[in-house]
């Protein structure tokens, strides 16, 4: 498969309560092996997926949030978080995990993976995709 397509995985749901977030992450990790042009976006309650210091002991669910920190190792460097969704929930980027990737071309310099973008910008980015998978 020589053709490279632009894939965007859209995450719209809270990390717990339903399985969408966790099974979306499974798709992203498997999909990384296909060498496509991959971006992730987080909007609506999906922004809660990236909140740091998650603890799930009291609800007896697996805390899968550390997995997001491995995305850089899977060569996933482009993560959009919608500004309005953060604001509507009283969150800022400081409430989110610091996700990075290492730039091979710059002596493995650590670079931020997350960009906060407006709803309008995110809409335009979605328009540029070949495949949008929404979870």
């Amino acid at each position: 498969m020589s053709e490279i397509k632009k894939f965007m995985y859209v995450n719209r749901k809270a990390p717990y309560g339903t399985i969408y977030a966790w099974e979306s992450l499974e798709v992203v990790l498997i999909g990384a092996a296909f060498d496509q042009d991959v971006a992730l976006s987080f909007l609506d309650d999906g922004v809660y997926q990236l909140v740091k210091n998650q603890s799930t002991e009291q609800i007896g669910m697996k805390n899968f949030s550390p997995t997001y920190r491995t995305l850089g190792d899977y060569d996933i460097k482009t993560i959009y978080v919608e500004k309005e969704s953060l604001e509507e929930r009283g969150l800022s980027i400081d409430d989110l995990q610091h996700l990075i990737w290492e730039d091979e071309d710059e002596d493995w310099a650590e670079k931020d993976s997350i960009s906060v973008v407006s709803r309008e910008e995110l809409g335009k980015l979605m328009e540029q995709q070949d495949v949008v998978l929404s979870f």
Binding site: M1, K5, G31
Partner: protein, 148 residues
């Protein structure tokens, strides 16, 4: 259905052509209408000469692949309808293995591998990996998701 896709070989001349669709079903039968809508879309696309590269069942959508459901006689049989459509059109109905293992959708191989007492995969469905979903995204002209 007439879907206008720009054909790059005819830059100044937009034409109708057949489209290769990938279909994703993310919700189970009856609880949610996603599988019904996906079925009707798939059938309409095939009836109008389009191609369905694959139907991929994920999340609770894997429950569409059971052969153990017994809906009331005056209702549609969601799983059976997929089975029949697959038979008529040689469709590739793929159930995600990871999602299926969680929810107890089992074929012969899974039954033997995981020491389960039974299998329940409906005719026309097969269990495979998430790579099949990504491949559908790459190969299809359009990947359509049915679900919430």
């Amino acid at each position: 259905m007439h879907l206008l896709i720009f054909d790059s070989n005819h830059n100044n001349n937009k034409r109708y052509r057949n489209v290769k669709f990938g279909i994703v079903v993310n919700e189970g039968p009856y609880q949610h209408q996603a599988s019904d809508t996906a079925y009707h879309f798939t059938k309409a696309a095939l009836d109008n000469g389009h191609e369905i590269f694959r139907v991929f069942f994920y999340h609770d959508g894997v429950n569409n692949g059971t052969n153990l459901s017994t809906p009331p006689q005056d209702d549609r049989n969601v799983s059976l309808r997929w089975t029949q459509l697959a038979k008529e059109h040689d469709l590739d109905l793929v159930v995600c293995v990871a999602a299926a293992q969680r929810r107890g959708i089992v074929d012969q191989g899974e039954m033997e591998r995981n020491g389960k007492p039974a299998m329940n995969i409906a005719d026309g469905f097969r269990i495979s990996g998430l790579g099949q979903l990504i491949e559908a995204g790459i190969q299809a002209d359009r990947l359509l998701t049915f679900g919430d």
